[in-house]
Every structure is written in C-alpha cells, then in structure tokens.
Amino acid sequence: MSSLLTRVKLQQIKKAIEEGKRLDQRNLNEYRAFSIEQGAIEKAEGSARVKLGKTEVLVGIKVEVGTPYADTPNNGVMTVNAELVPLASSTFEPGPPGDEAIELSRIVDRGIRESEAIDTEKLCIIPGKKVFVVFVDIYVLNHDGNLIDASAMAAVSALMNTKMHNYEIVDEEVIIKQGYTPLPMNDFPITVTLGKIVDKLFIDPGLEEEEVMDSRLSIAFTGKGEICAMQKGGSGYFTAEQLKEAMSLAQSTAESQRKKLKW
C-alpha cells in the first residue's frame, strides 16, 4: 500500500502520533463524525448505511425460514457475511471473501452473538425443525479506515431497523400474513477500535493511520458495560499497562458513542 501515499506523509502521520497529535487535527481519543441512515434498502427486512469519516458501510438484513443447528433446536440462527466490494478501494479484488473480510465478519458476528443482542429463542418456529435465519450482509462501499467499527455499527443499526413478516403455522408450513413485527432484540453492542504506534493509543484509526500503526485492538461492549468480544490485530503487541489503558479508553469511548444513538 505504501505506494499509495508518499513515504513522507506516512512518516509525518507516525511522528505526529508519537507526539500525541493527528494529521487530521483529531485528538488521540477522538472519534470521527458519523451518520446512520436506517432503512436505506426498503425492500430488505432491515438495513442501515453508516458513514464514519469517509468510510461507508451498508448492511442489509434478510430473514428467511431455515433449520436450527442440532445443538440449539429452540433458537433461530444468525449468520454474518462481509464483502469488501472492489469499488470501495483499489486494493480490494473481486472474488470470494479473503482473510480480511472473513476476520471482519467474524468480529462483528461475535459482538452481536456474545452480547445476546438478538433474542434467538423468539425466532424459533417449530422446535428442532424450523426457525428464522437472520442473514447480516456487510457491504463495504468505501474504505477509509476502521471498517470494524463502521461495520459493527451498521450491522446493529440494521438489526434495530429490521421488521419480520407476521406468519402463522398451518400443517407445519409457515404461512406469511399481513403486517410486520420488529426483530426481537435484547441489547446492542458497541464496538470500539483503537490503534497503537509505539506506546501511543488512538481511537478510530483512519486509512493512512492503519498503514503505519503497529497493532489494533477492537472491543465490543454490552449495554451494561460488559466486554463481549475482543480482537487484537496487526504485527505489534500490547504490554499489560498498554492493555489497561486501552480498555479504559475503549470503555469511555463506547459510553459516549452509545449516548449518541437514540435507541
């Protein structure tokens, strides 16, 4: 990627952060402005388009009838998929999801799953036979850094916006009826990602910052402030002290992010 930016610029970004500043004038603990448009895809059961700086992610939700897993016969199923579509960045290639897309989808998946955000028991139709399957499809439309937080935010916003068809069961067949019910939600997680350069931590890395940072830490918090998912990435490390600092920075950021959402 370093061909995309002059080495000079990358050096400047790195040096600035080492001095506690950022080239886009943000403070180290400052999130970029974001906007959420729910219902962007009116024909999907749920959807949300999130802009975080210039990063843009669209999530669409489809709800279909399927079979439960053998070990959870009374629970609906959620499945998360992420596509880094090639119009979002010249570094994205068409084709099946690569490692980066798979990791992205699995981080978002764990945040939603472990926070028990969806009340999957209410998605059971006929125990052991038929349940609702909730497909969460993450579509990255523009890559300007921190795809994890933008995708997590878009996924949760889309789920909060999801309406399922009413139905009745006749002879073990699901008959769709008029009207809609909201997807049963218990909670929603907030995911906060921070970067590290040498011993400096900073919130919500932009694309150029991602290119020079040592490592990344993403943490998802439940509504009660519990941690429900976490992922370290990148070729660097965290000392115990850095980790403590990162946790506290992430938690306070998650709280202030949560306040900005009206749900």
């Binding site: 962007a40 895809i41 009116e42 024909k43 999907a44 959807s47 210039k54 669209l58 669409g60 939700i61 489809k62 279909e64 998929n81 596509e83 579509v85 090639p86 119009l87 979002a88 960045s89 010249s90 068409p94 099946p96 999801p97 497909f135 499809d137 579509y139 439309l141 523009n142 890559h143 300007d144 068809h165 769709i176 009826k177 008029q178």
Partner: protein, 246 residues
C-alpha cells in the same frame, strides 16, 4: 402475500404505479460519489439503487491480458445479497456473469480504447436494490463512472427497456411487469451517434411490436440522457466552484 395482480394496466390505461404506458420511472443520478474510485456514479431508477465505480486507466494485471494496441475494459455486474426478495448468494451467478459480458459489450463502442494501449480499466457495478431493469440502469451509471474517470468517450451510453404488458408495448418495465409481462427488450444507446450498443429480448413479439418497442426504448434513453448530462455537469460545476473558492 405473493399474489399476482390480474391486470398490469387498468381501465384508465395506467400501470400499477400510476404510470402511463410510455412513461419512465423517476431517475436520479449522482456522479463522483465514491472517494476511492477514479470515477463513479449512483443511480436510483425507480426502486433500483445501483453504484458504479471505474478504476483506471491503470497497469493491467495479470500481464498476459495486456493488449499491445489498446486498453482492456473489464466489467463486473454484481448484486448485493439483500438486493432481491430472497437472499442471493454473494458468489456470482451465471446470470451475473452473462450480464457482466453484455454490459461490457454495451460500453465498449463508446470508449476510445486505442488511446491507452497496455492499460486496463475496471468497471465495478453493485446492485444494492433491484426492481426490474437493473442491467439498463447499470449501463447508464457505468458510462458516467467511465466519463467521471476521464476515459475518452465517443458519447455517453444510456439504457432503458421497453416490453409488452397486457398486450401493450410499455416503456421501462418494473420488476412485476417484467415477471408477468410477455416480453422485455433492454436497449442501450448512444444518442449522438444513433447507435444501439445493447439489444436483448425475451418473450414473444411480432416484428412490428419489436420495432415499436425499440423505438420507445430509445425514446426513453433520450430522456435519461438529459438526466445523465445534467448529473455530469453538476459534478463539474461543484468542482469549478470549489476551485474558484480556493
């Protein structure tokens, strides 16, 4: 809930969404909305919502696909899993592969491919919501993405379909008309050159009906062409304003 309507055109001669037989759906276009693409466009054509991004001219990879005497144009038409009533697997279907090819064939006549030998241009089309006529709306957007990327072109390519519903030739079929109707003729067109660059058909039409369909489809194209040009102009006005300010 999937009950099919019996009539697609009512006694007043209006369609299910209130349009007259020869009336377009509403079309809105924005140019230059993808920061990372070299050129881009977003179209809302009826309920279709489609993004197109162009990258290039750039070095062609893999190298053995380079052409010594011309630029290579590649297209990918792709539907988001949530764009259709039943979730679509993100792996490209045979239909998507075919449309990628015919869209490329529709855009190629407009591009001066001899200008940038050995390079490649990629056009990526993502259908975010589909409601009938996605290939046409994709072409309309993709040709703007190419223009926005600064690729030299003979003319913009604009596309629109006509078809047969309730025994009448009608312009710009939406999804339900496409499914229940008896014929669909998508047409892509370069108005300045009076050149048809995409032409497909399915259904049954007499030769006369077909000619009629092509005629009203190119009529629709001409209307959308104005919206295309407006969108392109708007993008460059904004740029000029920004430059003045600086």
């Amino acid at each position: 809930m999937n009950e099919k309507p019996k009539k697609l055109i009512n006694t007043k001669g209006l369609r299910l969404d209130g349009r007259k037989p020869n009336e377009l759906r509403s079309v809105k276009i924005d140019v230059g909305i993808l920061p990372n693409a070299d050129g881009s466009a977003y179209i809302e054509h009826g309920k279709n919502k489609i993004l197109a991004g162009a990258f290039g001219p750039r070095e062609m990879h893999p190298k053995h696909l380079q052409q010594a005497d011309r630029m290579v144009l590649r297209c990918r038409y792709h539907m988001a899993p949530f764009s259709v009533p039943e979730r679509k697997s993100p792996a490209p279907s045979r239909r998507e592969n075919e449309l990628s090819k015919v869209i490329r064939d529709a855009l190629l006549p407009a591009v001066f491919i001899e200008n940038y030998p050995r390079t490649g241009v990629d056009v990526f089309i993502e259908v975010l919501q589909a409601d009938g006529g996605t290939r046409c709306a994709s072409i309309t957007a993709a040709s703007l993405a190419l223009a926005d990327a600064g690729i030299p072109m003979r003319d913009l390519v604009v596309a629109c379909a006509a078809g047969k519903v309730d025994n009448k030739i009608a312009l710009d079929l939406m999804d339900i008309e496409d499914k229940i109707g008896t014929a669909d003729v998508p047409v892509a067109y370069m108005p300045n050159l009076n050149a048809i660059t995409l032409l497909q058909m399915d259904g049954k039409l007499s030769l006369k009906e077909f000619e009629n369909a092509v005629e009203i489809a190119t009529g629709g194209c001409k209307q959308i062409y104005e919206i295309q040009k407006e969108a392109l102009k708007k993008k460059y006005e904004i740029i000029e304003q920004e430059e003045e300010v600086e």
